[in-house]
Assembly symmetry: C2
Homo-oligomer: 505 residues x 2
């Protein structure tokens, strides 16, 4: 038992970890197994462990009950079996458990706390220098984002030609010294360049150690890690490893990361740019995840041109990239109705000024799309693509934010947290106007978007009083208008981006 | 022959008019007929005349050839026949003939001059005081609009409760003294109020005399009169006269107005709010117009919620009200393709600040929609609904303009007039971006709408030079960037509402 190291006390939904020495001969990633059986009054789970290099094997486990746990760790990695026990204590701080699908197509933490999801995107921030990674965490700590989308594999794309700080596999990459935006090719439809030499059966533990330390950093900031398991912006061949290597990879990821309460699984970014893969391939990957994630974290798959069929049973929520240049968040309620799942708008274009239409909307337009999603009971996601002298764009690299929307998203976050229940539900009004309601309609937000009513008339058949506030979503002010009942008129400034909040007294 | 008064010389596409005395007994509108036969080397047309009150009968004719014409006027209105002749001279000034459908789904005048249609809307301007009518004409003379939508019948609607200056029929209206926005009812779905007493077989000539003098005023300003023959905003019963009275009315209108070159026929505004009428009813009305307009002016019908079937053979162009709150002019190219007819966007919401979402977009958004339509080869239409202390809103009453879009529409008009050929044709580029081209692609406008590219890269396989200009559609500037060839980068200011114009040298 002298080579078993483990935590003896752990919070509910935190990560119990046991590290053990084992065999190093052959290929330990493939040749040996390790798993743990965790038993308490309420749980009985068998979880897989993984090889972390240098003869070290790790088993992780996320307990869901405040009670005593016993465990046994077995496998071919060692000739011994290991037993132990630990105590699970109450969650503290911002630990509310993993995010789940709650009632009325809203997201909630497992402890019942509403999860007002406000995402952002830094696709390959963990592949940048450690200084830049720290800066990204600092920026996140100063903003309201509570979900981050990012990739395990490095990214080959416009503004993304440099090599990552580490690779997920043992081996060497192709020569990239001549790559630039003039000769950029997306290899989704082509063979990747010559010169890559990877062993897809030997992971590079350093790569994953850094990645999981960032998952924990995010967890400590109260931010969900929406992990993109595969993506097509590739020159290394990680997007075309073949079915067996993908399954091998996914099992490693599940064994390694699933005991962190803040992970979500995004099977792929822009799955439909993997021109060599079929729906059957994605379904096979989904089965791997479903089978090997003992905690059933949120799962989805993100499109480029065409949505994946979000009605598939394994998909917990829609992870949408808007497929229309002009209309995005305004469709949230239609998608809620069509798929009957929470709608997370993971890409509705980015605030910025690069050449691409997906990367140059204004802060006002970004904020408007956030509010359109919010009043419809959906969850918008931010990204930023301002041109930068060193090509450091938040959308890919993290770093600092330069745009005008993040402050407004902080303001929106405050409004969201004032919502009764788990969030707003959309109700249609005349002329396609959508109103977000909560508390059975006793709480309502009328959002006027790019429209500029100089006044609105309300008419209630009952005798209740309504507290009325005018919210300027851009200037971030809330003006109390007083208490009204019956038929009444609220004057507005005739500017864009206004909202009226009505609370029944 | 002493009671025949007529013009002996008339420009091609101007209006020949002959006025005669005739019987006044009975109901001259109904009891007597009058028609003229016009014969020249190239034409032989029989046209109906109409009764203008006080024993005066009128026949009007629009000649289409520069040559000698002979005519004979007959009918039961008189026991005599009248003959005469006149000379048709060359068109002068802004007389380019009626507007027709030209090649490539563009509008052109009959003489081949492109008609770059930029409409606006003053639904019931001819029903207001003469002072206000004059002010409307002055405003139009100072702006670039070259088509005006307006109604023959008075309007009962929000902001429109007062009585018109005249009625189209002999009779008396219901009492309207108690009407206001609190008790407003649209009578499309209901019987109109008690108390209207109209003789639907006796027109009020004063009403039509004023109306046609306004058609002529518009003609002299180079503005097409897009006449709305019926509309549902009614408390007088003019929207529910019954099939026979409608046919009687339409024949009177055709006889009276069709000889003005600048008229277009809009069968109805928001036809689908006539809940008591069927498609068969509208088709019957279309047949009346088709049969009794000798010049086959442009014809369409305008929707509220759902388009009429614009593929009907009698419809010359789509007269569209956007059916989506957010997306309107961006669909122009889809509609062009679907209907294979010119697309006139007669309602894409109005610049203003009233309570309704159709009447409170910004000048920027209006201008944006105009450019979206323009680059797609369609024709946008303006309207304005700013709150006004005396409830004078351009959209209904005319008067003055207060918004920010008209100046930008003047600027757009200049750009339109620089287009080679009859207008732009849309070509799809990646990511739904649409480019408007002319001259076989040698002239191209890339419009960036609400997107804010900081630069764009162009790549031409040929060795031609391209003259490049950056157009700021909001600030109304054109910046010459120089001449380029092959692959080149154009820097943009990263603001919204920019365009790039490329002209092959």
């Amino acid at each position: 038992m002298d080579n078993l190291v483990y935590t003896t006390s752990v919070e509910k939904w935190d990560t119990f970890e046991a590290a053990l020495s084992g065999f190093q001969d052959g290929n330990p990633f493939e040749d040996y197994t390790i798993y743990g059986v965790f038993i308490s009054c309420n749980e009985n789970k068998t979880v897989e462990g993984f090889y972390d290099g240098n003869g070290r094997y790790i088993v992780r486990f996320m307990p869901s009950f405040e009670e005593e746990y016993q465990f046994i760790i077995k496998g071919t990695f060692s000739s011994e079996e290991y037993k132990g026990n630990f105590t699970v204590t109450s969650p503290s701080g911002n630990n509310h458990g993993p995010v789940r699908v709650g009632s009325n197509l809203h997201l909630v933490y497992e402890d019942g706390t509403p999860f007002h999801c406000l995402g952002t995107t830094c696709y390959v921030w963990t592949h940048q220098s450690s200084g830049l990674q720290e800066q990204t965490l600092k920026t996140l700590s100063e903003n309201a984002f509570n979900k981050l989308r990012f990739c395990i594999f490095p990214k080959h794309y416009l503004y993304n030609f440099h090599e990552p700080v580490s690779y997920p596999y043992e081996g060497t990459p192709c020569d990239s010294s001549d790559l630039n935006e003039d000769n950029f090719v997306l290899f989704g439809d082509n063979a990747v360049p010559e010169g890559n030499h990877w062993d897809f059966r030997r992971f590079n533990p350093v790569h994953f150690q850094n990645f999981e330390s960032r998952i924990k950093d995010l967890r400590d900031l109260g931010i969900e890690a929406d992990i993109i398991l595969m993506h097509p912006y590739d020159r290394w061949g990680f997007s075309r490893m073949g079915t067996e290597n993908e399954a091998f990879y996914l099992r490693y990821i599940m064994a390694r990361f699933s005991a962190y309460r803040n992970v979500w699984w995004s099977l792929a970014n822009e799955y439909d740019l993997f021109f060599h893969k079929s729906v059957a391939d994605w379904e096979a990957n989904a089965r791997e995840i479903y089978a090997h994630d003992p905690y059933l974290h949120l799962r989805s798959i993100h499109n480029c041109f065409q949505f994946y069929d979000f009605s598939r049973p394994w998909i917990t929520h829609c992870s949408i990239q808007r497929t229309d240049l002009y209309k995005s968040a305004e469709l949230t309620d239609e998608w809620r109705t069509r798929y009957n799942k929470p709608v997370v708008l993971d890409e509705i274009a980015y605030e910025g000024n690069i050449n691409h239409a997906w990367g140059n909307i204004s802060g006002q337009e970004m904020t408007r799309r956030f509010w359109e999603a919010f009043v419809r009971g959906g969850y918008p996601c931010h990204g930023e693509t301002y041109q930068h002298p060193d090509n450091i764009l938040w959308w890919s690299h993290g770093g600092s934010l330069h745009g005008e929307s993040p402050a407004r998203i902080r303001f929106l976050s405050e409004i969201m947290h004032q919502t009764p229940g788990n969030g707003l539900s959309p109700v249609k009004r005349e002329w396609d106007e959508v109103v977000g309601i909560a508390d059975g309609g006793a709480y309502a937000i009328h959002y006027y978007s790019c429209f500029r009513p100089g006044f609105r008339i309300f008419s209630f058949p009952d005798e209740h009083n309504y507290e009325v506030e005018v919210i300027d979503t851009w200037n971030m002010t809330i003006k109390k208008m007083g208490t009204f009942h019956g038929k009444f008129k609220i004057t507005l400034p005739g500017r864009e981006f206004m909202a009226i909040r009505l609370i029944k007294k």
